[in-house]
């Protein structure tokens, strides 16, 4: 059930109950700073945040589906479709930026709706349903583009993921992606922890049968979770396309990264428990691992092994804490 439903713990035990993901993140950041003191300059940490923003938004969206007791594997190909589709629709026309963004959000909404309806009404397990969508959506992207990107993203479209304000008082640099991250994160946090919908979602994930008997519109709650996840994938796609431009494999692997980030943050894989803030922490941690390994300069195979070991230990830590 939700944290809000638990009796308020006392102050000390509350401190002890701080999600360990933040501690892990702190240690990793400490290691990065030790290896590279320049990380404390705005160019260091602001680049880090700009880079982490897409995964943060994606993981926060994935938490909704995970909390409902499902998986959303289609987000990676939704990211790719967003980037490829936007590049085809924009075709160097700066004036089209806004309607293209709306069109992509619309497409994301449709993908989420299809996922949700197939899972909630046809009762197809979400792993299979979203795997199907993943393949279909990536097929649509390939057909649309003919196997290679056909257009460019305009500077306006790319601003969200690429632009940085310079000479900002106090912080020096301010990436636009950070504002998107704060805004998007706040909306998702509010939806999960500040609305009745968030409570219903936890109830559905915890015990769908009990929720149904209690009068929760289970299907509607589930469908909305998939829509939220797909919309977050579109936003992540806009940020990623902005950060690094058009490519056909831009979203590859992001579905697993998003799930990993959410689990690192303590989201339970079979539903009933998930926190948006902790997922953001998980995404930042995952990005910090990638960055740290870049700085260590280890050979690639060693790097993959270290990355896997860190992930396993972090997830094990999260699970230990939950069972304790």
């Amino acid at each position: 059930m939700t944290d809000a439903a638990l009796p308020r713990p006392r102050r000390l035990s509350r401190l002890l109950r701080v999600n360990p993901i933040w501690l892990v993140l702190l240690i990793l950041i400490g290691a990065i700073v030790a290896l590279n003191p320049d990380f404390t300059e705005p160019q260091g940490y602001m680049n880090f945040l700009r880079r982490a923003a897409p995964l943060c938004i994606l993981a926060a969206g994935q938490v909704f589906v995970l909390t409902s007791g499902g998986f959303d594997l289609s987000v990676g190909s939704t990211i790719t479709l967003t980037v490829v589709g936007a590049s085809m629709l924009l075709y160097n026309n700066e004036a089209a930026t806004w309607w293209v963004i709306l069109a992509m959000l619309g497409a994301g909404g449709v993908i989420g709706l299809v996922n949700g309806l197939v899972v909630a009404l046809l009762r197809v397990p979400s792993l299979i349903a979203t795997l199907g969508t993943m393949i279909t959506v990536s097929g649509i992207g390939l057909m649309w583009s003919g196997g290679a990107p056909r257009g460019y993203l305009t500077d306006g479209f790319r601003a969200a993921g690429r632009f940085m304000w310079r000479d900002v008082p106090v912080i020096g640099l301010l990436p636009a992606a950070l504002l998107v991250l704060i805004g998007g994160g706040a909306v998702l946090w509010w939806l999960m922890h500040g609305t009745n919908y968030g409570r219903l979602l936890h109830a559905v994930g915890d015990n769908p049968e009990a929720a149904r008997l209690a009068g929760v519109p289970v299907a509607r709650v589930r469908v909305l979770a998939f829509v939220v996840s797909s919309l977050s994938a579109v936003v992540a796609g806009i940020l990623l396309g902005g950060f690094s431009g058009v490519s056909l494999d831009v979203g590859t692997g992001y579905e697993l990264q998003a799930i990993t980030a959410a689990v690192l943050g303590g989201t339970q894989l079979l539903g009933g428990r998930g926190a948006v803030g902790a997922a953001l922490g998980g995404a930042l941690t995952l990005t910090a691992i990638f960055t740290l390994l870049n700085f260590l300069g280890l050979p690639q195979p060693v790097r993959e092994v270290v990355q896997g070991l860190i992930l396993i230990s972090a997830v094990a830590l999260a699970v230990c804490r939950r069972d304790a």
Partner: protein, 378 residues
Amino acid sequence: MTLRTTTAMAVALAVLALPATAQNFDDPTEFAEQEAQLAATPIGPEGAPWEQYLEDSMVDTAQYAAGEGPHTVCFSNAGVNNPWRVVGWTNMQAEVALHPEIGELIHVDAEGSDDKQIGDINDLVASGNCDVLIVSPNTTAALTPAVEAACEVLPVIVFDRGVNTDCPVTFIHPVGGYGFGIQGARFIAENVEEGANVLMLRILPGVDVLETRYSAGRRILDEAGLNVVGAEFTDGDNAKTKSIVEDYLQRGSIDAVWMDAGATAVAAIEAFEDNGYDVPVFVGEDQQDFLQKWQELGLTAIAPTYPTYQWRTPIIAAARILAGEPVPGPEWVLPQPAITAENLDQYVNPDMPPLHYAMCGCEELPGYPEAWGGQASN
């Protein structure tokens, strides 16, 4: 991520377990041979490098003369799974349109799978419909027996990657990976001071054509006394490439960037731009987006190519073989030009897609530019 991890570990294990059978990607003989080929004067019609050849040796094909036609050409393709192959495959189809004596091109796509390609070749041969078979092998060793079996039945042309047999009539390929590595690294050595910092960006380990690019590039940079600050794998991913370059920039200056392929070159350049650095000496490839960026920023850069015009040559070879005319062979080595500041303007074309390979030799082919995803200029 998981798949890549598994692949990387499998490669690492294979390298550890089988040092004796591991392929040699740093072969001084091949390096020297390709270095010489880069400097050689091509034989054949000027302005049509897809018909030219660097090694003066011909194969007699009178035994394959097949009369008037129309003939059926069969093509077993490793895949159309990356932008390079998309451009190449478009070139090949357009080349067929130039040959009235070729009635049909039967194309079978192996989708990047050795097993499927072995089956494809067997099926094509067994069908009895093919007058000549073109093979672009997915991997060298795995496809060798299937190609050998096909050679027993009909004339075979192999291009791009080779096979471990000399039974095909000819094996068409540009100079190769060492040549690619040499061109870029030599340009860097000529344009920076001794001891300068060079960042090398690679796609992934274990791929023969990429390993040879790297070993040749590395050899030249080391011999020139340059300081290679890192050789990083980008997985061909724009975001990862940009992140890696940003991280290197935080730690020190970079005087040149060498890449084994250019698809992520613009992302690497943007890492310098976004963080307020001058873009250093750069080695990319002939993708349009890189060429346009190079022109726009006035970079000191070079674009070695692995020319996609080599996809035209197998059709030309097939037509000649079916007419019983001699073709260059047993290896038809095509020239492998680099795009430089002198000829950059003639390759830049903003109407073409970002990952269009400019060294396509396709500008005069039927259907250009629409078939290649470009917009007709008004």
